[in-house]
Amino acid sequence: LLTGVSGTPQEKNISLASPTKVELTCKLDENSNLKNPQVTWKRGSETISHTIKTQNSWTIQVTISDSSHLGSYTCILKGEKEVSATFHLQVPKIEGKEKPVITYEGDIAVMVCKTEYKPKSWTWYMANGTELVPIDKILPKDKCKFKTPSANVARLEILKLTKADGGVYWCEAIFELGKSKARFELKVLSIVAPLKPFIAIVAEVAILVTTVVLCEVYSKRKAKGREKEFDQIERL
């Protein structure tokens, strides 16, 4: 049972993983200016007829058995003003990484795909230009590992990275009601890349420490020189 509250144009995203029956309700607030509106439920351009009406709410029942039943369902309340609310029934979204994953040559790259619902299966693709090629077909078995630590988490590990492994990867979760994809970008850097700033910083530290020590030795010598002068003056 899902409800939407009207007032201003509202939207709600609902994720469905497996076939189910859904009830969508539009409720009118008691303090609203709209009185006794005419209500239509629409999906795209199609009007849905079986609306159940109670005092201030209008409900439709939808059976989602396959992907063709997914989409946007809107309830439109017409009176002096027109108010609407939309429910987007979708396949669950899966999380990837927006920022590139940075790894190094010879290291392991790990890409983790998560979702809230349990998909039937997972597939990983590598982007070759605009084509998506399944990874298990390109890469040998000792190069990459698929793991599913739990049903809603998928893990791809690519071992012994080389620069050629960089690029775009896609993780696809197959639900009963459809498929969902997430994008990963893999960047493989050479070990030299962070080494340059590191050596620069170490050099800076060494220079500063030497400067401080030299300054101190110099000022001590000056002080000793002055002391000797004082002693000599006193003796005189």
Binding site: I102, V110, P194, P197, F198, I199, V205
Partner: protein, 497 residues
Amino acid sequence: PAPAEAGRAPGPPDGGWGWVVLFGAFVSIGFAYAFPKGLAIFFKEIQDFFGTSYSEIAWVSSIMLATTYGAGPISSILVNRYGSRPVVMFGGLLCGVGMISAAFCTSILQLYVCVGFITGFGLALNLQPSVIIIGKYFLKRRPIANGLAMAGSPVMLCTLAPLNQFLFDNFGWRGSFLILGGILLNCCVAGALFRPIGPGTATVKTQVTEESKNARKGTITEDGPMENKTEEEEEGKDCFEKINQYLDFSLFKHRGFLIYLIGNVLMFLGFFAPIVFLAPYAKHTGIDEYSAAFLLSILAIVDMVARPATGIIANSRWVRPRIQYFFSFAIAFNGACHLLCPLASSYTGLAVYSGFFGLAFGMVCAMLFETLMDLVGAARFTSAVGLVTIAECCTILLGPPIGGILIDTFGDYKYMFIKCGTVMVLAGTFLFIMNYYNYRMLAKEGKERKKKEEDPQSVRTENEGKKTWNKDSTQSGPELEPLREEGEGVKKEMNGT
């Protein structure tokens, strides 16, 4: 030190090279406090990489914090033996080595060792000596110096947070750890600036010989009281003295020290938890991620300004003699903020809370070490800070998890804030009352001592039969005297030391 030097400069310089040392302490303390917090940015990525749970990653932070505080006594012993400079330089080197080796880790256990233990220990070797050396270089302007040095923490945090994010976006976590290791080596530069101070060691020596004499009288030995003997001439020292030379356990009989210890241990139970849970609480009330992060920024910016400002206020003529009251007030104020937080429901309310929290947090941190120095004196501060940090270590680690348990059990953040607020108000009140008692006892003992100073013979016989808490007041006496009687300040210092 040559006799001429000891005669020329009897007290801490309060300026000159001291400002350079202050800058070094600023950097060193900043890294010690801000670095563990700044690492949190990498945790999610490392968690995904090794496939561990969130709590296993959180252990890295906990081990690091525990080592930084728990290694306090070791740090104190090393400073007592070798002085601040070599310890800080070695600490910086250790931090660097720790993070560089962390860049090549292949398991979470290795991360615990490299990031947790090695870097944590290095940071401990950074933190204590930096605080100690401020006490050696400053006396009259010490609260300002402490406030400025402690301001290093929020400044470093504000610098490290975006820097870490930048490094992570460009180099991944391994490259970032490598570069951070290099950055931590800068602590060696800070350490190089910590020139050992001559006149300070002269006063320390005479105070230490006095202490060892009294310590001997405190512990029952067969030897009769031996005056006018320096430590080097002593033979047949018993075990207590040797340990006391490195880590002054006789502090546990010091009234002021005990008050400070109990009050602070209690305070730390509620000190850090609100910071840890501020952003999650904000998100829980429906605020988006960026605004929640901005609350922490407000906190850090107010904190940055509050610390030096508190230092200046604490240094003023009216506050400094009663600095313990100011400290207790700051703690209670902190607690009051937390108690009022559940009333703030909107974003502006939370922003105001963050502002006040930042102010209170800064006030407490700025005076944290200043009050301890004020109570035990610069000489025993080295050991005192070590003992205090290891005691605080337990409650610091317990604070956030207890808060977490409260949140999970009741499903509501307000109980955590109430708990933190109550604990801190209690600690503040306790410190206020006990310090009032302490000030009165010190005033009484000061008057008694002045009467006896006219008759030196009775001083010595009194010394032999004195109760322990009277003995300790002679150590803290010379500390407070220059401040209470400003006119005769310098003269008294030379007489007392």
